[in-house]
């Protein structure tokens, strides 16, 4: 295929990605070093209230934004260097907390709290998703052919349900005196509220994520299991390999590329954890990096959006995802090099 035809085919797609992905990245990068504020001026205001004999007048100095002829606030954009990053990272408090050796104080700072949750969420759910997915795939592979269809149908439901709704549906089971909370209270005899402290919410979030993603791993592993080489399996049986050894030495190596694929996708998706925070309404206890950016961008009561801080925190989020992806990408590059020669 000539370059011109190739360009004509991929042109629209590349154009959209440049305009809506690459360009925003650059603009976020620039924004993160700027602060846009309304220009303020100080004016002396004399307010008079009617009084007996004479009016009571007070003069005070007020700070008000300058308006242009349309009545809009005039804003000015300043270069502030790393100021926004400092506001997000709060390094002085961070080092003070490290100096005290106090983990709790570090966790008081939003960014570090979000980073801690995002990382532990990503890394803890990864083995669970792969394990549960593999277990379901093996069990379905064992089951009679006729019930496989309905099982796949039911398994797909958690995967395609809207993430916010999925986490809400679990939230409603546990909220207040939801039936599952009541059941647990009956078993333990203590009063349980699942949404009053951070660690129970986190547990539910881990559960939700595994529930949501395991079907995806299951379907892929299941497809992979159909292509396991039967001859290798049989020779393993003849060599006296136990069931566990066959799984460990024949099936898992066969599925290894798929495991890596799922791990990669899972890393990308989990690092963006966001919908759970909305669904479980956990912002008071548990927040994630993407939620932090979202929160900066949501207008506050005065209608202002903290765009420069949002940009800084999203750049920091980016750095994290680049670090996570370096290893897999180097691997792909080496494979490409290898296949070229």
């Amino acid at each position: 295929m000539k370059f011109k035809t190739f360009a004509a085919f991929v042109g629209p797609s590349v154009f959209m990605m440049l305009l809506f992905i690459a360009a925003p990245l650059v603009s976020v990068f620039i924004q993160s070093f700027q602060v846009t504020q309304p220009i303020l001026e100080q004016v002396e205001v004399e307010t008079c209230t009617p009084g007996f004999l004479t009016q009571t007048c007070t003069t005070e100095i007020k700070t008000v934004p300058i308006l242009d002829e349309n009545g809009k606030m005039i804003t000015e954009t300043q270069w502030v260097g790393l100021q926004s990053y400092r506001n997000v990272l709060q390094m002085d408090k961070f080092w003070a907390a490290v100096g005290n050796g106090s983990w709790n104080q570090i966790m008081q700072i939003d960014f570090w709290k979000a980073l801690r949750f995002t990382l532990s969420f990503t890394l803890l759910t990864l083995p669970l998703v792969i394990g549960v997915g593999l277990a379901i795939a093996l069990a379905v592979n064992n089951a009679t052919r006729s019930i496989r269809g309905p099982i796949i149908f039911i398994s797909l439901l958690p995967f395609i349900i809207t993430p916010v709704i999925g986490s809400l549906s679990i939230y409603w089971l546990f909220v207040g005196d939801g039936i599952l909370t009541t059941m647990m209270e009956r078993w333990t005899g203590t009063n349980i509220s699942m949404f009053a402290q951070a660690w129970t919410i986190e547990l539910l979030m881990y559960f939700y994520r595994v529930w949501h993603v395991a079907p995806f791993a299951f379907v892929i592993f299941y497809a992979g299991l159909q292509t396991v080489n039967m001859d290798t399996l049989e020779s393993a049986v003849i060599d006296g390999a136990s069931r566990w050894e066959r799984l460990r030495h024949v099936i898992v190596p066969h599925l290894m590329p798929l495991i890596i694929f799922i791990a990669l996708i899972h890393l990308m998706d989990c690092y963006r954890v966001f919908d759970e925070i909305v669904g479980f309404r956990s912002q008071a206890h548990v927040i994630s990096l993407q939620w932090l950016t979202f929160d900066f961008m949501t207008p506050d009561d005065a209608g202002n959006r903290a765009m420069s801080r949002a940009s800084a925190s999203s750049m920091l989020t980016m750095i994290g995802i680049v670090i996570l992806l370096i290893l897999p990408l180097r691997r792909t590059w080496r494979d490409h090099k290898g296949s070229a020669h």
């Binding site: 797609s13 990245l25 846009t36 039911i154 039936i179 966001f274 999203s314």
Partner: protein, 385 residues
């Protein structure tokens, strides 16, 4: 297929794997099933302590809304045949009445007619007949199962949820159409070009896929809000404010979805033998003609599968639509967030549940109809990497 004797499994293993599957199916379906049950009960029942009360709904029944044994049996029978005929009879009818060439349109019309007929019979005709029968039959006709649709009526009619539904449909339809049009072209180009450039494009797309969406939205938001000033030099007075415009959101979602779409379509196009378009080229077609006349007729399975995933992305999105759309143009998923922000009474809560079930129902239908395509799409992405 008979398994060799050495591969046969001991009973204990078969039992434990069966139990595990049963538990998994229960876990997978239970939360969704449960919110569906809750949405039909009065607030007292929906948040009752005992699970039995939630299912039977005594308070709902006391309120005068209940189903008798007869209602339940008849309802289930009608439901069963409706679903069964949708899969066995409906395809035949569509093929029979539809002019050849317009089969896609025929399916749309057929499904719509079928859905309307079902609603008319299930919600219109059936209650009338059963109401008469219940009066005659005595004990069989007394209500035992509390069930009310008042929350759905409240959500859809009073709270105007249908506006959000229409917005959702608009955004989703736009996302699917545009991302498939742009994506098939790019996917085909990438699949047929072995150059380094194509490889790098795919890698960059992979990195783009990993980006958290909030990063991108942080880039759009200031530009979108001030776009009428920024675009004024080009478009003059009529320059639009992009913030709150559904089509701006469609463009954003399409672009966010592009990396995934082109990866997936590329792997589908790689499965179409290159000899096919080479033969067309030998016969004197240009690349575009070959694509138009030879590839397009055989690419539909892959396109449908990719379209399903684009649909899911557009339909399920919360972050982009919540930040870039204003209240008038809000789609369903962010709108439900509005419900639980003002959720003060239990009635509000059950209405939120009913809204959540309303959002889930189309997805449920989607899996029912397209299960095979979804599975093949998931595996195609994985096997090709």
């Amino acid at each position: 297929m008979s398994t060799p004797k050495a591969m046969q499994q001991p009973l204990v293993l078969r039992l434990s794997s069966g139990t595990f599957l049963a538990i998994w199916c229960l876990l997978a379906a239970f939360p969704i099933f449960w919110i569906a049950v809750m949405s039909f009960k009065s607030p007292v029942d929906a948040f009752a302590d005992s699970a039995w009360d939630v299912i039977l709904g005594p308070a709902t029944r006391a309120g005068g809304d209940g189903l008798s044994v007869l209602d339940v049996i008849f309802g289930l029978v009608v439901l069963y045949f409706a679903i069964r005929w949708a899969f066995t009879r409906l395809p035949g009818w569509v093929r029979h009445y539809c002019p050849p060439g317009l089969i896609a349109l025929g399916w749309l019309v057929g499904a719509l007619v079928y859905a309307i007929a079902f609603v008319l019979i299930f919600l219109g005709l059936l209650p009338m007949i059963l109401g008469a029968l219940n009066g005659i039959l005595g004990p069989l006709g007394t209500p035992v199962l509390g069930m009310t649709t008042e929350h759905y009526v409240a959500v859809w009619a009073e709270n105007e949820f249908y506006r959000n539904f229409l917005n959702s449909m608009l955004v989703t339809a736009g996302v699917v159409t545009i991302s498939l049009t742009v994506g098939t072209l790019a996917g085909y180009g990438l699949a047929r070009s072995g150059s380094d450039l194509a490889f790098w494009l795919l890698i960059v797309a992979l990195v783009f896929r990993a980006l958290p969406h909030s990063v991108l939205v942080a880039g759009y938001l200031p530009v979108f809000i001030n776009s009428s000033e920024i675009l004024a030099p080009i478009f003059g007075e009529g320059a639009p404010t992009l913030y709150g415009q559904p089509w701006a959101v469609i463009a954003v979602l399409v672009s966010i979805n592009q990396p995934f779409t082109i990866w997936m379509l590329r792997s589908f196009f790689q499965n179409i033998p290159a000899e096919l378009d080479e033969a067309a080229r030998v016969d004197g077609c240009s690349h575009f003609q070959a694509f138009r006349r030879v590839i397009m007729p055989v690419m539909w399975p892959g396109v449908i599968t990719t379209g399903l995933f684009s649909f899911l992305l557009g339909y399920n999105d919360f972050l982009v639509t919540a930040l870039l759309l204003d209240a008038q143009n809000q789609t369903m998923v962010p709108a439900i967030a509005g419900y639980f922000n003002r959720e003060t009474t239990t009635t509000d809560q059950v209405e939120a549940v009913a809204a959540a079930v309303s959002i889930t129902a189309p997805l449920f239908l989607l899996v029912m109809v397209f299960q095979r395509q979804i599975v093949s799409g998931l595996t195609a992405g994985a096997v090709k990497g």
